[in-house]
Each structure stands twice: as structure tokens, then as C-alpha cells.
Amino acid sequence: MNAVFYILAALTLAGGLATVLLKQLVHCALAVTVAFAGLALLFLQLDAQFAGFAQILVYIGAVAILIVFAILLTRGSELPKDGVFSKTWFLGLVIAAAVFAVLGWAVLASVSAVPQQNAVPSVTVRDIGIALVGRYVLPLEIVALLLTAATIGAVIVAMHEKERPR
């Protein structure tokens, strides 16, 4: 536990909180980007270089951009008149707090049972590549299929319903 961890954790959680609480949707999208960046830095701090950079590339480079595009396409940058929180917000808050209480209790109660290994694992990108096309080749293929399906699906869903004659 060092200072860097506390700073990054605070950054990530502040980004997350701001995402949930801010009114203007574009601000939410920018705040969630801060949370994503904080998480990527946490990954880097955990010596997971590849996962950290992949997180930045995918989340900040693609997902955040997708989100802002969706916000602008649905006129989400205009504030709604009747508030941003749903009528059952209190219930949602209670559920979230309860979930956190259970998770936190589980973590703290099992601290002694959790294995602890502090040596830095020496994993190169090469190892990851070999693992991807070796032991994990089936999940890789499935992910490829899923991504293709998702690309086609997203295009079809978002396409205009009526084909305009040219």
C-alpha cells in the first residue's frame, strides 16, 4: 500500500462518482473517461502493462467516443426538465449500498484466507501472445466471432429503418 495506489484509487473513484452524479450527460462521459484512465493506471501499477494500454486504447479511444457520439445523436446534451434521477432513486441507492456492504464484508473477512504473493511477475508481451494463440486460442476465436457479430449487429440496429431510394 503506497501513496501512488491511494492517489489512483481516489482518482478512479472520484471519476466514477462524478459520472453518476453529474447532471450534464457530456460531463458524465468525460468523468467516466477519467475513471477509465484511473483504472488503466491502476493496471499499470499492478504490472499489467498490456492490459493497461489495451484499457486506454479500447475504453478511452473507442468506448468513450462511442458514448459521446450516442449522447449527441440522442440530444442528450440538453438537460431534461424533470430531473436526471429516476423516481425510485432511493431504492437504487439502498441496493447499491447493500451490495457494497456485502462485497466489502466478504473481502475483509477473507483477507487472511487470500493467497498473497508479492514478487513481481515477469510477463512479456511475447508470453501473452503465445498464450493467446496457444492455451487460450478457443476463447480468442470466440471473441473474434462475437466482435464480428457485434459489428454487424450494431450497424443493422442503428441503420435507418426505411432504405431511402437513391
Binding site: 457530456v26 468525460l30 502493462q49 494500454f53 486506454i56 479511444g61 473507442a62 459521446v68 508481451v125
Partner: protein, 401 residues
Amino acid sequence: MIATPEATNPFFVNLDQIFVFLSNWLVGFLPAVLRPVAGVVLGVVAIVCVFPGLFALTTVFERKGLGRIQNRIGPNRVGPYGLFQPVADGIKSLTKEDIVPLRANAVVHFLAPLVLVVTVFMGFAVLPMGRNMVLVDMDAGLLFFFAMGAATELSVFMAGWSSRNKYSLLGAMRAVAQMISYEVVLLLSSVAVVMITGSLSLPKIVAAQNQYTGVFPHWYIFTPWGLAGFLMYAIAATAETNRSPFDLPEGESELVAGYHTEYSGFKFALFFLGEYLAMFSISGLGTTLFLGGWSAPFSFLVWVPSWFWFFGKVMLSIFVFIWMRGTLPRLRQDQLMNFAWKFVLPFTLLNLLVTALWRFMGEGWARWMVCTVILVAAYVVMGRVEMRSEHFGRRSYRYAE
């Protein structure tokens, strides 16, 4: 590769490593605990000084070059041959009033240029600018570079959205859509190099190209897949940096100045700087991936310092950027998108397959023939198919009613 007598001459070896020695010497004054940190800080300071200096030079170079192409003289008032023009421009932009639109989103408006410049600067950290001259030799250096490049897109959106100006917003949306489309190509054309080298570390990629057959180097551009990959990379890089002919995001005739319409003074200068820095970094990456990085173009020239070759190649690509800007007309938005998704991307994907073929066919001339034939055939067929839907008849105009 040390082959010629000049290369072993201690003077040239020292000249090659002069910046490394200088850095080590300066850091040597500090206690041992601080040395690693101080080395990095020194490297950062060097990058932060060298590239903006290069940016200042490039602006004069560009304006003079464009003037030449357009049959006029270009800036010639400040200093000899107008060389001090960037100094005057810098003072002007620093003393100008900083105007923030009344309804602008002040915080985001302020942060956007900073995010842009910082993320662009980060990309330089992994570029090898000479033998042993890389700030951080990361195992996943290429991925880091692209991660930083992806982060710049968001700053463009921030600038456009926070200005509360429809031209800014439209420019930003165009820029982001364009950058996303061409980033896919940029990544995939670099993957070909990674497939051959087997490493994401940029110094290793340069080392793999720093070999010679006879006097000719093993640069990847001198292979069929490398040439195709380099051309695709160059197209994508031009689009990624919003340079002409892909400069729709700032099409003056339609959008005033695109996403930085509402920026003035120093913030505008930051955007300007960010754009040129992005050009340098993307040229640097292209140089590293396809043009052999800091390696010399002929084996009898290895005595010339490695950093000279790196910066020479980067400036050469900048020259090509300027040349294209002075020559080619701007594309239309639909042409831009169709070109990206229907021609460049399929061709890059095909190039990946060809690269794999190249890798597994082993040495020999057979792979040269096969790869070249496939790529040329694909280029011709795809070009024909694309062109068929275009009708080059007389232009028909539609007027607003």
C-alpha cells in the same frame, strides 16, 4: 552493423552517441539514488525543447514551401529570409487576448488544448530517435503509442463541444469520425510489421531493420507487404493528423476553422502546436516501422550519426506532407469515409494475409513474386470495382429550393 572503417572510428562513434554521453555526464553529478529519475527528466526536457523548436522551423518551411508551390514568395519580413517569423508569431499569440465564449463550458474549454498537447507529447516517449536514444524502452511500446493517439481524439471532441458553436461541434464530429476510421487502418498496417518482427518494442523493430545485404538495408518498405503497408500507413497518417487532402475537419469554406474556431491566443497556439507535434510523432512512428528508424540508407553511410538519419527521415516526411497540402484538393465527407472503409481497410486486411504468407514462405524469390502479384492484382481489381460505381460524366448540380 559496423562495416566500414569510418564506422569504427572513435570520433564518429562518439558523435553518434553524443547525446547519450551528454545525458550520462549531466546525470553523473547527482547522487546515485536520483540518477534514474534524473535521466528520465532530462529526456523529457530534451523532447519538450527539441520538438517545439522543430515545429517553429516547420511553420516557416511550410509557409515558404506553399508560397513556392503557389508562385509567391511567402514570409520574408522578419529576419533573414523570414526565418524569425515563428518568433513574431509566438509573441503575437502570447500577447493576444484570450477570449472564451460566454456560454462555453469553461472547464472543458480550458482543458481540451492541454489534454491534446500532453497526450501528443507522451507518444514521443517510446520513439527511438537514435542508437540508444529512447526515453522508455517499453515491451509494449507500439501499443502505448496508439493508446496515446487514441486519447487525443477525446480532446478534439472536448474542444468542439465545449465551445458551444455549431461550426466547432460539426468540425469536432467530423474530426473524431475521421480519426476513428483511419486509426483502424493505422493500427492494422502496423500489425504487419509486428507480425514480421515478433515484437511490439520499437527499438527491437529498428534493430531488425538495421541489417544490410550488399549496400542496401533491410527496411520493411523494400518488401511488397512493407511498401503496401507503408502506403496505407501514410494515407491513414495524413487523415489522422487532419492534413490536406483529408483536412475536412477544418474546411475553411464550410466550417470556419473546425473544432478550434472559438480558441484564441495561447490556447489556439497550443492546438497549432499539438497538430504539428502529432505530425512529427506519426512521421516518427512511420519512420521507425517502415523506413528503418535511425539506420542509414546505405551500408557505407553508417558512420553518419543515427539521430541525423531519424530526424532527416522525419523532416522528409514532413516535406511530403507539405507537398501534398500544396497539391491535392480536399475530399468530400462521403468520399473520405468510403475511401477508408471500402478501399483502405480491405486492402490493409489483405496486406496482413500477404504478410503472413511472406513470413511462412521462407527465403527465396518465390515469395517476392507471389506477394507482389497478389497485392498488385488486388489493387487493380479493387480500384476497378470502386471506380465502377463512380460515374465521371458531366457534373450535375442540385440547387437549394
